[in-house]
């Protein structure tokens, strides 16, 4: 598996760290216990195409949103995650 970083180009997997599914969104502070439980502990654990957060710690140190198939490891898209990095490239 190699990941094409939008800032650094194609790099080997060892440069990246995995956070997980990009879908869960931190609930509002007053959202209640169920929403927090859901966010922290429950996962769709998709067998197929999944959107994920990866960190390019061995390169530009940007957070990336990677679209990857968990059945085949095929990566179909890599974008800067929302935040400062994304603003720089106008994403």
């Amino acid at each position: 598996m190699r990941i094409t970083c939008p800032f650094c180009g194609e790099r080997e997997l060892g440069e990246f760290t995995y956070l997980g599914d990009a879908k869960p969104v931190r609930p509002a502070a007053d959202a209640g216990e169920d929403a927090v439980y859901d966010y922290v502990y429950l996962r769709d654990n998709i067998a197929g195409v999944m959107s994920e957060n990866w960190y390019h710690g061995g390169g530009c140190r940007a957070w990336l949103k990677v679209t990857r198939n968990t059945l085949t490891h095929e990566i179909s898209a890599v974008e800067p995650a929302a935040g400062a990095g994304a603003a720089k490239v106008g994403a």
């Binding site: 598996m1 997997l13 599914d21 085949t72």
Partner: protein
């Protein structure tokens, strides 16, 4: 058939041409009292304990491929009971005791070899942590010995004791730990369960659950037709989320790939199972002579049953740090299995919110050693509808209530457990 010295002698005298297959490859009936999804070690053990301990013999084990084709055939075959937290300590010791009588129970040679598991320590702080773990084990009636450097040197003179960065200072030894022949565990449970009337049905993939008007599960849809069930238990490891999803459940589980490795065969070298405390590397030597070893999971969600090179490199570096001479040994095989990584690193054995559906999952990469214990307590739950006392903490709702069993203290990040 019953195996004995006489059956072996008879077979030998007839040129080993008359061995019969050891278990029945069944075709599905319309209905069973209990249907187990998953023909791995845990599923087959559950079926056997249901039949032998709890008198429920109208049982089917459904396997989508062939039995033992998942993690039961993909692990590094280590058995041990050196856990430190309430909930785990007693459960894994129950499992260890069942390993010790497995061959007699099943009338099958599963090659349980209690040649010891040693966890090496490399710093004063790690020695203290291991001493604490050893004490926890001993006050729970489990064997543990804290070895100093001289004792480790005597036991394993071949380690690199000149490693300035990660000096070996000693180790925590559980002599009753060791290895077992993983395939023979699967075949042994299949042999014994089949002998008691359990139907083992291969190439039978569950594609959905049959529910009554109240939502209770009353059977399963499979690639070989509908099968009715009084109760359904799932023991499907890395596929847990996919199967639970058919019943509308989301689980506190992520599926990750764990790799394992075997070297070419060498002469007897490693006496038992050994782990490197300054990285993540564990190794034993198979009876055929190959070094069987592994390390961390790859760290990303995967259902692919194969991993990538960074972890392979990391594992081999761990091995080299401990035993530089293995650098000249060639890697023979490498493979991956899909781990059901739970959010606290401990298993889940419980009823689900869906009536009639029971779950056995979340084994992370420690499922093999748990095989007999898991089968025993899951059978208890299925038969009695109450958890076995040694598995009472493996609740599905502990993530909601906060009663986590987090051996490593990593929090809800499955790829770090």
């Amino acid at each position: 058939m019953k195996y004995s010295i006489f059956s072996l002698a008879r077979a030998a005298l007839s040129g080993h041409k008359n061995w019969q297959r050891t278990w029945r490859d069944a075709t599905p009936k319309d209905r069973y009292d209990v249907v187990i999804i998953g023909g791995g070690g845990h599923g087959l053990a559950t079926a056997w304990f249901l039949a032998s301990e709890y008198g429920i013999k109208n049982v089917a084990v459904l396997e989508k491929g062939w039995i033992g084709s998942g993690n039961a055939g993909r692990n590094t075959t280590i058995i041990r009971s050196n856990y430190g937290l309430p909930g785990n300590t007693g459960f894994y010791e129950l499992s260890m005791k069942l390993w010790e009588r497995m061959e007699q129970d099943l009338n099958y040679n599963s090659m349980v070899s209690q040649r010891g598991v040693i966890n090496l320590y490399h710093s004063d702080a790690q020695r203290d942590a291991y001493a604490r773990r050893g004490n926890t084990m001993r006050i729970n009636g489990i064997d543990a010995e804290l070895l100093d450097l001289a004792a480790v040197k005597k036991m394993m003179p071949f380690l690199n004791y000149d490693n300035a960065r990660f000096p070996v200072q000693g180790g925590l030894l559980q002599r009753r730990g060791g290895t077992a022949r993983h395939d023979a565990v699967v075949w042994g449970y299949a042999h014994a369960a089949s002998g008691l009337g359990v139907d083992i049905i291969q190439n039978c993939e569950v594609t959905g659950f049959i529910r009554d008007v109240n939502g209770k599960v009353t059977g399963v849809e499979t690639s070989r037709g509908r099968i009715g069930a009084g109760k359904v238990g799932m023991a499907v490891a890395g596929s847990s989320s996919r199967v639970a999803d058919m019943a509308g459940l989301r689980l506190p589980i992520e599926s990750h790939v764990l790799q394992a490795f075997v070297s070419e065969a060498i002469k007897p070298l490693i006496p038992g199972v050994m782990t490197f405390g300054a990285g993540h590397f564990y190794v034993s030597q198979s009876d055929k002579g190959g070094l069987v070893f592994g390390g961390d999971i790859d760290g990303y969600n995967s259902y692919a049953q194969r991993g990538n090179l960074p972890v392979m490199e990391d594992v081999c570096e761990g091995g080299m740090a401990l035993m530089p001479m293995i650098g000249r040994v060639r890697l023979l095989r490498q493979w991956g299995g899909i781990m059901d990584m739970s959010m606290d690193g401990s298993p889940i054995i419980d009823k689900t919110p869906v009536d009639g559906l029971y779950i056995n999952a979340g084994w992370c990469y420690g499922g093999f050693k748990a095989t007999p214990g898991s089968g025993f307590v899951f059978a208890h739950l299925l038969a009695r509808d109450t958890p076995h006392e040694e598995a009472a903490r493996f609740r599905l709702d502990r993530f909601r209530t906060g009663a986590m069993i987090d051996e490593k203290g990593q929090g809800a990040q499955p790829n770090l457990h």
